[in-house]
Amino acid sequence: MQMPTAQPDPTQPSYPTDTPVDFVIIGSGIAGGSVARELTRNGFSVVLLEQGRRVGPADMEHDELGAFMWPRWTNDPALSPQTYKKGPEAKVESRNFAQYARAVGGTTLHFTGNFWRFRPIDFHEASKRGVPAGSTLADWPITYEELEPYYTAVEYAVGVSGEANDDPREPMRSKPYPLPPLNAHGPGVLLEVGAKKLGWSSKAAPMAILSREYKGRQPCHNCGFCLAFPCEWGAKSGANWTMVPEALASGKCELRPNSYVRKIETDAAGRATGVVYFDKDKREIVQKAKAVVLCANGAETPRLLLNSKSNRFPDGLANSSGMVGKNLMPNGNVSSTAEFEHEVAAHKGPVVTRITQEPYELDPKLNLIGGGGFDFRMSVPALMWTLGMPDDGPMWGAGFKQRMRPWFNNSIEALGHTTSLPSATNGVTIDPELKDAWGVPAIRVTYKEHEHDMRLFKHFQGLGRELLTAAGAKKVHTGELQDAPGSAVHLLGTARMGNDPKTSVVDKYHRAHDVKNLFIVDGSSFVTSGRGQPTMTINALAFRAADHIADFARKGEI
């Protein structure tokens, strides 16, 4: 099969800016792209604004320096600087803590493709387990059962590869996966070996990577440059290959890349009237809309709300609760590495093929809320992986060189994915002084791990060691656990969903409590962080939200 050379685009409509479109959607990632797909399929007119550019095949090369060292399509600290504080009392640092792809497709442009569903416990853990001191843990206003049809719809829309099993702890599913699992690669086989030895459950990873041709897109060709790279083949089902092209295919969606929204405008009645954005030449454009759907990610969404303050909304738009920006949850990632006797070749194939979710819920005696799962993988390509070689042998010279090839070919990482607890002191605010290259007040992130999460990480570090050892590793290398990550890509919880307008930003249909025609749909809607893989749930929430929004629009309830 031939590699796709470009994404074919149908002719797009060209909507006038001064006549309200049905919806303006801010952000073309998995949330905005999905809402655009669903609303246009329901016949509504949509302007889809994306602050970044459209990354094309010419950008898709196997360039590790380009992908990791430079913000080639991620938020660029030189243009979009942020400040950071490790806790409310800490000093302010210059640091881009919140990382995301600034491109059509959002972060799914270059993600791993883990498409775990949440389980019922993720929606009601607070009432089942209680709320630890210092945390704002709460129940979702929806249940797993309410979201289940949308999980299934997403699986069939994007083509998720996976395998249903008979583990009673697995959540109910109404349909099998549309595609068989990806073939197990070396790390996947080793994970299964470790799990088998420990008596843990394990399974094919549910992945948004095609195992077979699906909807005219090709299956994974196992090139190995996956995480942090866009997929040339179109096999990794980011919004750039799925939701956005399907929205455009409706003929009702106008995609405007390089369109950076700085404010949501409101009228005297407190309704949103449209958005103000900069085009690629930094000209200010006002796009009028009957309703606004904000899908800019868990850092940019609260920033835009806080930057949209007005006389009527002096603390920021949709922020009468004071919860905008609070409760940021990045998920925990706990890593251990080990070298094995034979060649694993973890640098070929998808990043992840098999997982264990055995520690999804933990023994109550451990007094740990949340949990997670593990996969075995090589997270980064040759240079980064070599830089990560443990220092228990020569680090340069002939001895080091001898270690390079076995390290690259025979070693893997056990990566544990965990819960983050929400906390009112962690979150996104506006830096009082710093502005970005467009003159827009910049993001400040305040984040420090909750003491509880540090204990959870420690527990997972032990489990990772056990799993690698059971898989046959002679020596396991673990790093020191830090009380805050250097940066985060899972940006969750900063405009949480809830029934009570005093403690949440949006209602169960993603409508802002304070602004009737403003909907907020992305990782910011999350009440809990789940167990480390949020993208599938963002996607399902977006499908569900769009379903309700379309219904409201048809009934004249917007």
Binding site: F111, N183, V189, N222, P330, K348, K401, V489
Partner: protein
């Protein structure tokens, strides 16, 4: 790194980058605005940043970090000096003072230990290794080690990894697709032996 998972973000990534954290930050900042055109020849007459003396010194240092004594390609064969020369004039401009000072201070240490006419390149490999061991905890050594690996393993368009010798050495293939089985563990007969089934 970019996911987990989290690209650029995780405990795991922090571990990977721990040794070069400061450096990575420099690279991130340095990389954005600078020219990245590659393809400069390794001919020292075409140097864009290093002086010929510095280039000779860099060549000798990097050849000890990734030597070719064992008959396999090392820093020299990969053109690492050319990579470093270009990076100091390009995406890693901000590291230029670190390299200038580090090379000067190493030269001074060499003449102090081996006499006024000695240069790093003129030393025996054993003497060179001893000199490098004495500076291996310095930021300069960290930077040149990182640059050596980067010049060995990044795309040739950045000036190093000539003819992909670094990739070939480590086992990274220039391929748009791979066919399973990829390694030993995913071979069906080994899966069968390890798991009693083939996944």
């Amino acid at each position: 790194m970019q996911d987990s998972e989290q690209v650029g973000t995780t405990v795991s990534r922090r571990e990977f980058v721990a040794g070069v954290a400061a450096l990575s930050a420099v690279w991130l900042v340095a990389g954005t605005a600078c020219a990245r055109e590659g393809g400069l020849p390794s001919d020292t007459a075409k140097l864009v940043h290093l002086t010929p003396d510095q280039a000779t010194q860099v060549d000798a240092i990097t050849a000890r970090i990734l030597p070719s004594d064992d008959g396999t390609p090392g820093a020299k064969e990969a053109g690492v000096t050319s990579f470093i020369d270009q990076m100091l004039n390009g995406f890693a401009k901000e590291q230029a003072p670190l390299f200038t000072e580090g090379l000067a201070s190493l030269s001074a240490a060499v003449t102090k230990a081996h006499g006024a006419s000695a240069t790093f390149a003129s030393l025996t490999t054993a003497q060179q290794d001893a000199m490098l061991t004495s500076i291996e905890k310095t930021p300069f050594f960290g930077a040149i080690r990182f640059a050596t690996l980067a010049g060995f393993l990044s795309l040739p368009k950045y000036g190093g990894n000539k003819d992909y010798v670094g990739w070939k050495f480590i086992g990274q293939e220039l391929a748009m697709e791979h066919k399973a089985p990829f390694g030993w563990y995913d071979r069906p007969e080994n899966q069968q032996a390890l798991l009693g089934r083939v996944l």
